[in-house]
């Protein structure tokens, strides 16, 4: 059964959650992003954030361990209880994508300590294509707006506890998201060398915006930061990107993905083909952030749509 809350009561509800939890929610600075809420009034729920949630699970420059005088000190992840409010269906699925590949303790701990509250998308924009990506239902709570109320679906015990004091709904409100954009074909393996890709590659600046803002991109680099004079240092994990030459460079200077084409296509093929081969799920959740963020307006979804795959077309 769904729970129900008046829209005008939402801020008070969130405020009450803030007593016991750190609440993370979308806010709008120059661009929309997730932040730890200081004030429920700051919440901005009108559009998908451009900056994804992932930094709260995969923080930049995360210290894996410190060392001093030849002794290693393991970094202890603080287990703060958090709630993320206002996640879109794509955002929620992005976490499932990360769960399959991120198995280090810092990540798992953060996942376990976080309650996920979703929000139905009233207004998908021209870049949203989540319906093409076979997404799952995954949430602790999920809010559907209807009239002056939210109808709240419960997905877990943790979620149920948060809304136990709210009224039961008199009816069930569920809605399907309506996308305008579509990824028409995901069977693109044989299209790797199609000439259509060249136009995108020619426009690509290898700036990495697509990967940094993609909620499922998780490639990283490990660096050791030394303070020799103090006999100390730390090992940190920082976000990297397949669009950069530095990412595939190994000792001796060999760069495995040297050409811009191989880097650009790797992004698309990892999302649609490679990950799928291993997990039978798509790595792309159709949020469209890569398209919104691209400074040269590359749209790989339309490129795929424009490739008419012919039978027996090997190249």
């Amino acid at each position: 059964m769904q729970k129900i809350i008046e829209k005008k009561e939402l801020n008070n509800f969130v405020k009450s959650l803030m007593k016991n939890y750190e609440v993370i929610a979308p806010v709008k600075r120059k661009i929309a992003r997730f932040e730890i809420l200081k004030n429920p009034e700051d919440m901005y729920l009108d559009e998908i954030t451009l900056v994804p949630l992932k930094q709260f699970f995969l923080p930049e420059n995360e210290t894996l361990f410190d060392f001093k005088n030849n002794k290693i000190k393991k970094n202890k992840t603080e287990g703060r209880k958090r709630i993320v409010f206002g996640l879109r269906k794509c955002d929620l699925n992005a976490l499932l994508v990360l769960d399959r590949v991120m198995s280090y303790p810092e990540y798992i701990k953060k996942r376990q300590n976080t309650i996920l509250v979703g929000l139905y998308c009233e207004k998908p924009d021209e870049f949203c294509f989540c319906n093409s990506m076979e997404l799952e239902e995954h949430y602790d709570l999920f809010f559907y707006a209807s009239g002056d109320k939210y109808y709240i679906s419960i997905g877990s015990k943790k979620g149920a506890l948060l809304v136990r004091n709210l009224d039961n709904a008199d009816k069930e409100v569920k809605k399907e998201i309506k996308n305008f954009k579509k990824l028409e074909n995901k069977n693109i393996e044989k299209d790797y060398s199609n000439k259509k890709w060249d136009e995108d590659v020619e426009k690509c600046l290898s700036c990495s915006a697509c990967t940094v803002f993609c909620p499922t991109c998780n490639c990283f680099d490990i660096q050791d930061v030394k303070e020799l004079s103090e006999n100390s240092g730390k090992r940190i994990k920082t976000q990297s990107s397949c669009q950069l030459k530095s990412f595939s460079e190994v000792a001796g200077g060999k760069i495995f993905r040297e050409s811009r084409a191989s880097r650009f296509k790797h992004f698309v093929y990892h999302k649609i083909v490679f990950y799928n081969k291993r997990f039978n799920k798509y790595m792309c959740v159709g949020c469209g952030r890569c398209l919104r963020a691209c400074p040269t307006r590359i749209d790989w979804v339309e490129t795929i749509n424009s490739i008419k795959s012919k039978k027996g077309d090997k190249k």
């Binding site: 600046l205 290898s206 915006a209 940094v212 030394k226 303070e227 020799l228 004079s229």
Partner: protein, 262 residues
């Protein structure tokens, strides 16, 4: 290159400037940078703060400034012979810096404007130091990045490999979650410039000037085509590129034929 001596004594260092503003040298003195590198290096010469009487050899010298006068070249040749490693410090030393804007202007006109009464003065072409001596390491930026200097010295002293950031400024800028200035109507060289500065300028609302030099991976054709769509002309883009590393940007642009054509 492993320079650590057998008896574990500190590396002998010199910190010099040729034609420049001394800003880079000063940035070594600021905050705890000096303390941190002084712990690891035996600083034999640093004429900015102490009279230089040392006549011996160095393991490492840092050089700030642009080559403008014959004296600069004579000094560089001498110092190169005395040091195992030479590191170019700052945008001037690495790329020519602000003085090298002169290379792109009408020499005579500029001369007469700046020195209307000194007809006997001769104008020189400012150049980066690697056009005159071999340079082993680059510590670019205007002024140079203090953390990078400390990290470089740490690597040198422990015999591990130092590498500059090779990723474009955009990478660090996006990681910070900044709104892109290009989308806000501000000319930014981030996509074609080398990062390593934590996207200092865009993070403060100013478009990148490329003071860490052009990115070796820059897609100049796509970048300039995109800027033209946004309403910038070739001159405004060139002007921005010529601020700190014009000679290097010019070299990088020449590789992209389409850009030269239009």
């Amino acid at each position: 290159m492993n320079l650590q001596n057998k008896n574990n004594s500190k590396l002998k260092a010199g910190i010099f400037g040729i034609s420049g503003c001394s800003g880079c040298l000063l940035s070594i003195l600021f905050e705890d940078t000096f303390k941190k590198i002084n712990d690891l290096l035996e600083i034999k010469s640093f004429p900015l703060i102490k009279e230089d009487k040392y006549k011996g050899d160095f393991d490492i010298v840092f050089i700030e400034g642009t080559v403008v006068f014959d004296d600069d070249i004579i000094f560089l040749d001498e110092i190169r012979k005395r040091s195992k490693i030479v590191a170019a410090l700052g945008a001037c030393s690495c790329f020519g810096g602000v003085p090298s804007i002169k290379n792109f202007k009408d020499d005579e006109k500029t001369m007469r404007f700046v020195y209307p009464k000194h007809n006997h003065l001769k104008s020189e072409k400012p150049t980066p130091i690697n056009l005159h001596i071999k340079v082993d390491y680059y510590l670019p930026q205007c002024p140079p990045n203090k953390e990078e200097i400390v990290s470089f010295v740490n690597h040198l002293a422990s015999g591990t490999q130092f590498k500059n950031c090779q990723d474009p400024v955009c990478m660090e800028c996006r990681k910070k979650g900044n709104a892109c200035l290009l989308e806000e109507g501000e000319l930014c060289l981030g996509p074609v410039s080398n990062g390593g500065c934590s996207a200092l300028c865009p993070s403060n609302g100013v478009g990148c000037y490329g003071c860490r030099g052009p990115s070796k991976d820059a897609n100049m054709n796509a970048y300039t085509a995109n800027l033209k769509k946004r309403g910038y002309n070739k001159k405004s883009i060139k002007d921005k590129m010529e601020t700190f590393a014009g000679l290097s940007f010019e070299e990088e642009m020449e590789k992209d034929s389409k850009w030269l054509g239009k």
